[in-house]
Symmetry: C2
Subunit: 248 residues, 2 copies
Amino acid sequence: MNSKTPAQLIPHSPVPLYTQLKELLRAQILDGVFAPHTRMSSESELGEAYGVSRITVRQALGDLQKEGLIFKIHGKGTFVAKPKAVQNVSTLQGLSEAMSASGHEVLNRMLSQRFVPAGRLVAERLGVEESSTVCEIKRVRLINREPVSLEVTYLSQALGERLQKADLVTRDIFLILENDCGVPLGHADLAIDAILADAELAKALQVSVDAPIMRIERLTHAADGTPLDFEFLYYRGDAFQYRLRVDR
Amino acid sequence: MNSKTPAQLIPHSPVPLYTQLKELLRAQILDGVFAPHTRMSSESELGEAYGVSRITVRQALGDLQKEGLIFKIHGKGTFVAKPKAVQNVSTLQGLSEAMSASGHEVLNRMLSQRFVPAGRLVAERLGVEESSTVCEIKRVRLINREPVSLEVTYLSQALGERLQKADLVTRDIFLILENDCGVPLGHADLAIDAILADAELAKALQVSVDAPIMRIERLTHAADGTPLDFEFLYYRGDAFQYRLRVDR
């Protein structure tokens, strides 16, 4: 435990007690007072330590859970979540390329590789006729053996055929395109929002239905500007963070 | 309704019927077949039109709701959501600055402006002593009169005092810092993830508790590199999208 004097809540503050407790516990987690996967004190222990009701404790813990800082295991208690994996997206990199710099191991679980008729959105993005054949690849990406994202990739039929022999389990598609297919990459357009996990995502990412998901739509172009690779990336909100630097 | 031949679902496909229906309805919504705020056909009408059970329809609609494409009003039916507001974040801009270019009106609802002791994270980011006084500003940002984000801003005490007389209801803090305070902005570091709405966010953004939220932590520096403005931006997942372009 922390060797410092325990922080106190302020009883007659305009800031509600559960908010004070939440902020205090959040600071302790972010400061590393509780290590990842440590079990936290029980609701009644926390209530006693800070002189608040179990309802107040439960509300504070509930909010920290929504933020992804803690998780509950039924009948076992509340545990500190691991720090999120962080990818810097200021430059265009594949996940494995980006994460291996920080010593993380990325592996992929292949769900499917199929040739399908292009829907309207995919056709528009890739600049092909609607209903013409494109290659669809679904992979779950694992960082240090834990699922963090589901990637759904669309490529032209020709590129898809070249990728059929490639090692999609350990390699980024970006590096296969550049090194094996000899197509240098240019820029990518990204759109980022937040959604809730549906049944397919929940299963693929081992989260609950309705868990928070960061969704990225990414259209990557070849260096000559041709649209090349259109993807939907679904990241576990509790396990992943994008970082970038922007200039005024 | 669409004048084209209605699309058919494929009964003996490896793709489940609800997924086929979801993708078909999604394409129709994105193509503008259903205008924003239009009421969609009922579950039984859709079931009849596509020859599937109500359970299948419900599953497809449930997933589209998680994506934020439709919303339900109890007793009234299912409606098409408005397209998301989109901010390009390839360069650093305030929300009003960014959105007014696309003809959107941004207004802010002031929740509070207070001087508070800096918590550890805020102190570290702003480069001040922990517990020293900083200014905290909470605003709900409205695009076309609808709440899209809650902004929690931390500034030094000195800057906070200068902002007390500023018009925080119609103006971006970025423009006030540059034009009124004479502090040119430099770069910002952003971290992006997805969380669920807690009670405070739900109330501020008029969404349900546990609705999807895109969270941004943004530290903006002055042109000389000094950290200036540390913010938590909480965007409604169903109403907002960030876009950016990154280069290889």
